[in-house]
Symmetry: C2
């Protein structure tokens, strides 16, 4: 599914800040991977590169066998829209759209007709126990509710790859494990799932774990 | 410090949604209180009312002995600016200001001179281990770094009351406990601290705990 070799990422401030310093990682089809590491260590930066949302400063990235450096921005956004479901750490819901409209948006871009769009969006909202807040705007939802809406939105296109950045950070233990169960189910259904988590208990339940420390991949630690 | 009696909060959608259904709670000076409860149960709504950011639909709220219903909006914002430090669940940093400028902003409203402002802001950034990102804009910070900047901002006015909504939700276990230590220290220095947390381990370390379930206060559970 994804193959990263010697990936570096530098942000160009007055003094350049090298966040990823040579990351190599193979993620086969139907993998279930957890990425752990301290705050500021480069986890979200790595996930954005894997999700074709940002280009690395140097190194090679292959996605479904294609060398990403040779793809145009349009080809990248086509791949993203059809093959990748992304759950951002800060949700990024569109504030003037309702819960249902936010969730159906990826299907709107794929030109799925309105009736079908709404039916799939409602199914995904039900899966994250949010069918009771369909008409609310994001400002009328709690932190954990926004997070669950963002998860539902990442599922509507039934993408082969799901990337989730702290999907349970704003959830209580019980809701958190119910949501985690969804990711385990998706993995069993054949999807490739990569999640970033600070929750040691959840990370221990994921079959494949890696750590990030100062921009380099380290052992993910015992379960 | 705060006394709540029979507080209700209803949001006026097509079908009114009653989120708080009669909350009564006494928070004495120098209390250290944790509020726990499932996602969507009304925790942030309660904290916003305690923090004078929102008015209850009915019920009585006394802050430092004053009946809040009799205060004007200007008096409320004066009290907020000088007596309350608030850490929002979604940080609410100002995107075009640097880390340092975001942290010194509450002091700017209190007309503290620039040199003194900067000195206090740098001290608070050091306290949350963020002195190395002073010039970054919020979009150039990680999730956990934004959270720590928001905590530093809530401390600069040295407020008697600190209200924090999931202050460690985006932090790894190690950074999370270091930040939690700051709240324990502030409590020992005489501040009144109220935190919302999903982290059972942290909630167990707080002397006073209450739960919220369906808009009513319940027992906070054993440590
Ligand atoms: N402006 C609003 N209009 C309508 N409903 C709202 C509004 N704000 C919040 N709500 C609803 O009120 C309920 C309580 O929200 P609140 O943010 O207090 O929950 P919470 O306990 O903090 O949850 P979390 O742990 O997910 O942050 C939620 O179900 C939410 O949908
Ligand atoms: N646009 C940017 N410009 C400059 N520096 C940046 C930018 N984005 C991120 N950084 C820096 O890169 C580092 C890594 O950020 P990243 O968001 O990947 O961390 P993280 O591991 O996800 O942390 P957290 O657990 O707090 O979310 C941080 O120290 C941050 O300050
Ligand atoms: Mg991150
Ligand atoms: Mg909340």
């Amino acid at each position: 599914m994804i193959s990263l070799s010697a990936i570096r990422k530098t942000y160009g401030m007055e003094q350049p800040l090298e966040v990823l310093r040579g990351v190599s990682l193979e993620i086969p089809d139907n993998d279930f991977l957890a990425i752990v590491g301290p705050s500021g260590s480069g986890k979200s930066t790595l996930l954005h590169i894997m999700g074709l949302l940002d280009r690395p400063t140097s190194g090679e990235l292959h996605f479904e066998g294609k060398n990403v450096a040779q793809l145009s921005d349009d080809e990248l956004s086509g791949l993203r829209g059809s093959s990748i479901g992304f759950v951002f750490q800060s949700f990024h819901l569109i504030s003037h759209l309702s819960t249902l409209e936010n969730v159906e948006l990826p299907l709107f871009y794929l030109r799925v007709p309105p009736g079908k769009r709404r039916e799939i969006a409602r199914e995904c909202l039900h899966r994250v126990q949010m069918d009771h807040r369909e008409k609310h705007l994001p400002t009328q939802l709690s932190g954990g509710e926004c997070q669950r809406v963002a998860i539902a939105r990442s599922l509507v296109t039934h993408p082969p790859l799901i990337l989730a950045d702290e999907p349970t950070g704003n959830l209580d233990t019980k809701t958190g494990s119910e949501i985690f169960r969804i990711f385990t189910d998706l993995h069993e259904e054949g999807h490739t799932v990569v999640i970033i988590t600070h929750d040691r208990g959840l990370a221990a339940r994921v079959p494949h774990r890696v750590g990030i420390m100062d921009g380099l991949i380290v052992d993910g630690g015992a379960a």
